[in-house]
Structures are given as structure tokens and as C-alpha cells.
Symmetry: C2
């Protein structure tokens, strides 16, 4: 069983997934290259995420398909399945214990794959808005289901696309990891937003949306529900955030229309990034309120997109300090004015 | 002039270095590949870090060479020069201002390169202990000099080695960035260590050293002054820390003998990692007390080494949450028992 371990200094939790363990020989550059090639060849021929090969995945936990079609067969548009090699498992109980000065917890949770399209080779930015909307709904529906387990505190929704960003497969998919803890970054955001609220009695994200719409220099796109902009203190070139205009801590409890608006904003953002940067590797992460804070006045869900243009170095990881060679005003101007909308 | 910008939610400072700015076209995969090749070819022929080409760098700020030899000429063993494309500059004054809800600061600081050897192609782990000791002394001497500038709060010392970890040159070098702020990760460590001290009246790093020496399962090497071990909540496969046995907040104020002991421990750690992982790309960062906390009872300087075995994805960056497929007990056992010492 995988376990969660806590760094005794900064309090960061790490999944140590011994079930996935591989020895030092697996890490030689040659070994990695060979593994990647084998995986990519196998995957072309026999992708278990493609329609007609549903038996190659664990039974689905959600799928959108035409009325009357049986589960675990073709005809779906979005399909969610448990990860075959989960980093956390739902079985067992949540045990916490000390190990000398250290703290550990059993690796209880869930790890699911959202197969975003029936097409094997397609960029998310090239899908129709309605298809993006379905993906967003799948995240929402799965979070609603997973929150019923009272041992879980948070569901991480993220996507890694492309070789540099570390994606293991080319069939488009995002992932959900349900956790018995609140991830460090989200906890930091919650605390920071609370401090801002204590001082100003306003949500910092609402203030950010107002200022970005007023100033316009970092604005990339807006629709009725969402603002797409390059954040003021962007860590990476072309870092792009999507923030709903209306205050809402909890993604899954948002009004229905926001899922279409988010789907459209995500489509525009990814289409523009693909055109500007020649289909870069990228990642995105949904930042959402933990279940226990889903009515927070100070927290505000949003989506952060990070093109993987340069390798993240130990400098950034070791220091928590970033150097961004592209001012967000420049990347926003380029995305806003020199790339098509794609709608 | 570059500027420092603060994320209004989590308080993270980012250097936005417009002087290094490059447009979106610089980021296509083909453009990056071409640039890397050009850089590597040029560098082979005309490396400005090689002896005899001292005029190709800004005038040195420190060098260790035989008595009587003139500065900025050959004969040195370690040489420190300002970075030609600094991310921060010492000129100008430290200005802070608000921009609506955001905060910025002028990009005041220093950015230096420690040329670690006169040999162009050499792995740090293959240098002699005495050579490593000199590198460590160079960090110390530069920090002592930079701390005299009262506008500066911290000096980041780090190294990126190898393509995956994002190193721009193959001639071995580490870097120093002197900052008017305390980097986020160090601030978090300080706070965490203070909380631990408040609760237990002991330094958490001292406790860690004691437990690692007693348990031995994550121990890789020890000498009279330093312990080398895989941390309990390692974020990455083969992550390795070097921690001095005696409590000391400030690296640069440590007793003289520690610099030799750190040099030896660093040599052993890097030699073993090179043998175990076939000369991996890696980074390390010195974690040191900020100048204002240099007598802290709760903070304890140390060095964190991170082999760059897998690309860091947006998942980690977006969530602050890590999944480590190699338990630190496994990597430590391998490094301890199945690789030579190299001494």
C-alpha cells in the first residue's frame, strides 16, 4: 500500500508509492529512452483509451454516451476510469502514526483518468466548445461523487500534455487524485486569501478579476463567466489563468452555465497557446476549495495553465523562487492580439 | 531593469527579467533545439570559463590562484565572476511600490557565477576533495562579501548540471543570486523550524540528524562533520541531503573544518549518484539562514541535491504535491551499499 509522508520542517505531504517502485537501473538515460519508445509504440497500436478497447481499462466510473448504449462499450464522448497503477487506493482505513519525529498516513484516496475524447490524436484546443464542456462536467460529476467519502478532503484535477511536461500517453486525458489531505499549494492559497480578506474584507481573486478587466494589459480573453489572463507575478513564460468572474469557492457547486463558459475559455486559451507556441507541452491544474471550505468567502476556484517551455530546475524547486524571462504583459499581448480565437 | 513581483495570494516573489525577454517564437521546440545545439557547439570552441579566456567574462570578484599571479589571467583553481546576463543588478536603489492590488520591487541584487574548475569537461564528483573544498570556500567568501550590502537579505547558492536540469553551459559552475527578499522555500523552512522549536525546544534538523544516524536505513554516508541521507519525505527518487552534525544556522559563520567536511561529503554524494544513475542531470541548492536570522536556534543550514530523473510536471508545480516512486530507504541502501565511495 502506498503511504503519505510529511516533511517535518515545511509540512509538505509526499506520496511514496512503493508499489510503483523501480530500482536505480530504471533511471539511466538509455533505460528511460527505451521505455518511452516501447510505451509509445505499444500505445499507437493498442491504446486502451480508444473506443472499442474499453475492456483494456478497469470498469468505468462515469461515461457520457447516447441513451441506451451499455456501459464499458463504445459510443461515449468522455469516459472516466480508475487508474490502472493508482498512486492511492480507496481500500483500507486511514491510519496515521508517528515514526520518531516523522509523520505518516496510509495512502488512502482515489486516482482516476478522464479520457477526454474518443479521438486518439487530438489537441484539446482543437475540440469543439461542447466537447470541452463535457470534460469540465466530468470533473464536476466525479468530484461530487468522491466528496461523499468523508475520509477525503480534496480532489486534485490536472492534465499533463506532451513529452516535456511528462505525460505518459498521447490519448488525451486528464487525471483526478482524491486525497485525505489538502495539497500544500492549495493550503497556502487558502491562508493567503484569508489574510487578504481579514485585511480588506474582499476576495483577492475578485479584486484580481476587477483589476485585470480594468487595466487590460494582461487580459487574453473574457466571456460572460470567465476571465483569461496572464497573472501579474507569472512564474513561467505564457502562464495563463482562467478565473470565474463571480465569486465561488467551490468549483463543483458553481451555477450550471459556468461549465460551458469555462469550456469555452479553456478552448480559447489552449487554441491560442497552440498557435503561439507551436503546440507546446503544457500542464494545467484546477485550484478548488477543499471540501471543508466550500463556502469560503475568501477563496475562489480557478484554473492555472503552465506551458512547459523550459525545464524547471533545482533552483526553482530548491528555493521556491522563479525567474520569468517573459513579462506577462508581453505574453498576454501576443495571445490576445496575434493569435486567432479558434471559435 | 529587472523587477521583483509578488503573487498577491501566496506571497511568492518572482523575478520578471524583461532584459532577458524573448518573444513567443523563441519557444517553439525547433527553435529551442537549434539554440541548444548552437550554444553547445560555440561553447566547445570558445568557452569563456576556460583558463586563458578570462577576458571573455566580466572582471572576477574572487579567484583562488597561486601567490603572485595577476588577476583575470590563468592559474586559478576556482574563479567567481559576475553573470554576463544577470537576473538582478547591484546598481540603483531598492524601490517598493504598489500597482493596484499588486506589489513590486526594483530588481536589486547580484548574480554571480562560480567557475568550479579550470577543466572544461569534468564531473564535480570526479574532482578531488581539496577541489570541492575550494568551491565551498568560494561560496562562503562571496556570501561574506555580499552580506555587507545592507539592502540584501539572502544569497541563494545553487547548481544545475546537465541538460534536463536546465544548465546553460557544460563548463562546471554554480551560481549565487543575492536577493533583497527571503526566498519562499527558505521562509517556509524558517517558520516550520520555529514552530517545531516552540513545541519541543529543539532544532528539527538536529533531531533529524540524530534519528537518521540512529535508524541508519536512510543513511548514505557520514564523516566527522556531516551526515548524508535520503530525507524521510523525499520528493524525488534519489533526493539526497547533506546536513552538518553540529547546530549552525549560518553556513558562512560555520567553523573552518566544516568546509572540508562538506567538500568531502559533497564529493561522495555526487560520485555515488554518478555511479548509481549513470551521470544524471542534477541540481543542488544550499539552504542557509537569511542574514537577519544568522544566530537562529531553530534553523540549521544544509544542502539539498535533486537528481533530475523525471520531468517535474504541472501536477507538482500546481499542487505543491509530489509523488515519489522510489522510497528513500531504497535509494539510500543502493547508494550506501552498492556504489563505491570514490575517496
Amino acid at each position: 500500500m502506498p503511504e503519505l509522508r510529511k516533511d517535518p520542517v515545511v509540512g509538505r505531504w509526499v506520496i511514496v508509492s512503493a508499489e510503483r517502485a523501480f530500482g536505480p537501473r530504471a533511471f539511466g538515460a538509455a533505460a528511460q529512452q527505451a521505455e518511452r519508445q516501447a510505451r509509445s509504440q505499444q500505445e499507437e497500436a493498442l491504446c486502451p483509451f480508444c473506443p472499442g478497447r474499453e475492456a483494456g481499462t478497469p470498469p468505468e466510473v462515469l461515461a457520457y454516451r447516447a441513451h441506451g448504449l451499455p456501459p464499458n462499450g463504445p459510443g461515449w464522448t468522455v469516459r472516466v476510469v480508475p487508474n490502472k497503477l493508482p498512486v492511492l487506493r480507496v481500500e483500507g482505513s486511514l491510519e496515521r502514526e508517528g515514526v520518531g519525529l516523522y509523520d505518516r498516513m496510509s495512502g488512502l484516496g482515489a486516482h482516476e483518468v478522464v479520457i477526454e475524447s474518443s479521438q486518439h490524436r487530438v489537441r484539446l484546443g482543437d475540440l469543439a466548445v461542447g466537447e470541452l464542456e463535457q470534460i469540465v462536467w466530468a470533473w464536476r460529476d466525479r468530484i461530487h461523487d468522491l466528496r461523499r467519502d468523508f475520509r477525503l478532503k480534496y480532489v486534485l484535477v490536472f492534465k499533463n500534455d506532451g513529452v516535456v511536461a511528462g505525460a505518459p500517453s498521447t490519448h488525451p486525458h486528464s487525471q483526478l487524485i482524491a486525497l485525505p489531505i489538502v495539497p500544500r499549494r492549495v493550503a497556502e492559497e487558502l491562508e493567503g486569501a484569508k489574510r487578504y480578506f481579514a485585511f480588506r474584507e474582499r476576495c483577492v481573486f475578485c479584486d484580481m478579476v476587477r483589476q485585470e478587466l480594468r487595466e487590460g494589459g494582461r487580459l487574453i480573453y473574457e466571456n460572460g463567466g470567465c476571465v483569461v489572463f496572464a497573472p501579474y507575478a507569472a512564474r513561467f513564460p505564457f502562464e495563463t489563468w482562467i478565473v470565474p468572474k463571480q465569486h465561488q469557492a467551490s468549483f463543483q457547486d458553481s451555477p450550471r452555465q459556468i461549465f460551458r463558459q469555462l469550456g469555452e475559455a479553456l478552448k480559447v486559451a489552449l487554441f491560442k497557446l497552440d498557435r503561439a507556441l507551436q503546440q507546446p507541452a503544457y500542464s494545467f491544474t484546477l485550484h478548488n476549495a477543499p471540501f471543508q471550505d466550500d463556502r469560503s468567502e475568501s477563496y475562489h476556484w480557478h484554473l492555472e495553465i503552465m506551458p512547459a517551455l523550459a525545464a524547471v530546475t533545482g533552483f526553482e524547486l530548491g528555493s521556491g523562487f522563479y525567474i520569468n524571462p517573459t513579462p506577462p504583459e508581453e505574453s498576454a499581448r501576443y495571445l490576445r492580439e496575434e493569435t486567432p480565437l479558434g471559435l
